[in-house]
């Protein structure tokens, strides 16, 4: 099955004419998600559906590459291209406000993270996928005893080191873009195939994958020099270092599993579209971190 990358409605596998017709139709209705996808990925100039078929095929074509490589190229293009995502730019040498924006919005992301991963585990019949998710959740949410706090705990400690109590963080509702993203990730987790959810969620860990510069990323998620020295508090260094060290393995292992099972189960096209929807939500969610940061600026 192929799916619309803006709304995930399904079509027969390889039916790009139907997908093109759908995109043109929804754009004609001025639906912002469909117009946005066309604008950002294919063309800003209105065309008829037949003229979109070849560009769509080319966009989804893996060519000689693996699904993993295709995912990385799309991810880099969106977040680490010539003009990196504004949150990535802000995180190179973050202000207190940027880090607090990160803390307040990201707690909502991580709470959804657990649910999304749990859906993957509930639906897969592959022991290695379950083992991967257990390892991931332990790092991200559960922790491994007092000496190895979870990423979630490190996030809250970062907030405290910047003067915001965890009770305040935990009681702050998400901004609209975060709320929308979390709701749609939850819906995705409940409705889509576990291989697609695996790809859609764990590809997001590419954001902190320091090896992406070898694949063409123009910058890292943050300037690694901030992990030493006194530019940011120790608790912030601890939080960022955890992702910096864990997310290469998290994203690469997940994408290897995704590539393998998407191929074996003949799910490549739908996995691609669910991934594309997920990174659009992630793009907006990262902007919400900056929006929240604005509330902490002097």
């Amino acid at each position: 099955m192929t799916k619309c990358p803006a709304c995930l409605v399904g079509f027969a596998r390889g039916d790009f004419p139907a997908l093109a017709q759908h995109l043109v139709g929804r754009a004609e209705e001025s639906d912002s998600d469909h117009v946005r996808w066309l604008n950002q990925n294919l063309t800003r100039r209105k065309t008829d559906a037949p003229a979109l078929v070849a560009p769509l095929r080319a966009y989804f074509d893996l060519g000689p590459d693996s699904l993993t490589r295709w995912v990385k190229i799309r991810f880099i293009s969106k977040f680490f291209g010539k003009t990196p995502h504004p949150f990535v730019a802000a995180l190179q040498h973050p202000t207190r406000a940027t880090l607090l924006g990160y803390v307040v919005e990201h707690q909502h992301f991580l709470r959804q993270w657990v649910r999304s991963c749990a859906f993957i585990m509930a639906r897969t019949d592959q022991p290695e996928v379950i083992q991967y998710e257990l390892d991931n959740l332990s790092t991200e949410y559960g922790g491994s005893g007092p000496g190895r706090p979870s990423h979630y705990e490190l996030l809250l400690r970062m907030g405290e080191s910047l003067g915001v109590d965890r009770a305040v963080v935990l009681s702050t509702p998400p901004l609209p873009a975060t709320r929308r993203a979390v709701e749609q990730w939850n819906e995705m987790a409940t409705r889509e195939h576990w291989v697609a959810v695996l790809t859609a969620m764990h590809s997001l860990e590419l954001i902190a994958n320091r090896d992406l510069v070898d694949d063409g990323a123009t910058v890292h998620y943050f300037d690694p020099t901030i992990l030493s020295g006194e530019e940011i508090p120790t608790a912030a260094q601890d939080f960022l270092r955890e992702g910096y060290e864990a997310d290469v393995g998290h994203s690469d292992r997940a994408l290897a599993l995704a590539s393998r099972f998407a191929g074996e189960l003949d799910l490549v096209e739908e996995v691609q579209s669910v991934f594309l929807r997920s990174i659009d939500l992630f793009d907006d969610y990262l902007i919400a971190r900056l929006e929240r940061a604005g509330q902490y600026e002097a």
Binding site: A27, P176, I287, A288
Partner: protein
């Protein structure tokens, strides 16, 4: 008002089919979000400059960050701006217009 875009007034896309009146002009937009963005942008420019009317607006850039060169009579200004996913201004700041003589 004179504009440089022939498509959507904020992003120049020709997809979509939204027509909205802004400052007495009926303008084309690709989606409702761009209407919100454009109205917010004009309001902010007028508040920042104190101009009662804007004669021309020239927008460049993309969603990661845009510039607009605006004029009112002989007055000229350049602003940098970006929006939130809901269309509110995330960033808005005055910028220096490059001199026409600069090389």
């Amino acid at each position: 008002m004179k504009r440089n875009y022939d498509g959507c007034a904020i992003c120049n896309s020709t997809w979509g089919n939204v027509w909205a009146e802004v400052d007495g002009e009926r303008l084309f937009f690709c989606c409702d979000l761009c209407v919100v963005q454009y109205r917010g942008l004009l309001e902010r420019i007028q508040r920042e400059t104190g101009w009662s009317t804007i004669d021309s607006i020239e927008i460049a850039g993309d969603r990661r960050g845009r510039t607009c060169d605006v004029t009112s009579g002989k007055a000229r200004e350049r602003f940098l701006f970006a929006f939130t996913p809901e269309g509110a201004l995330l960033r808005f700041q005055r910028s220096v217009r490059p001199s026409v003589n600069s090389g």
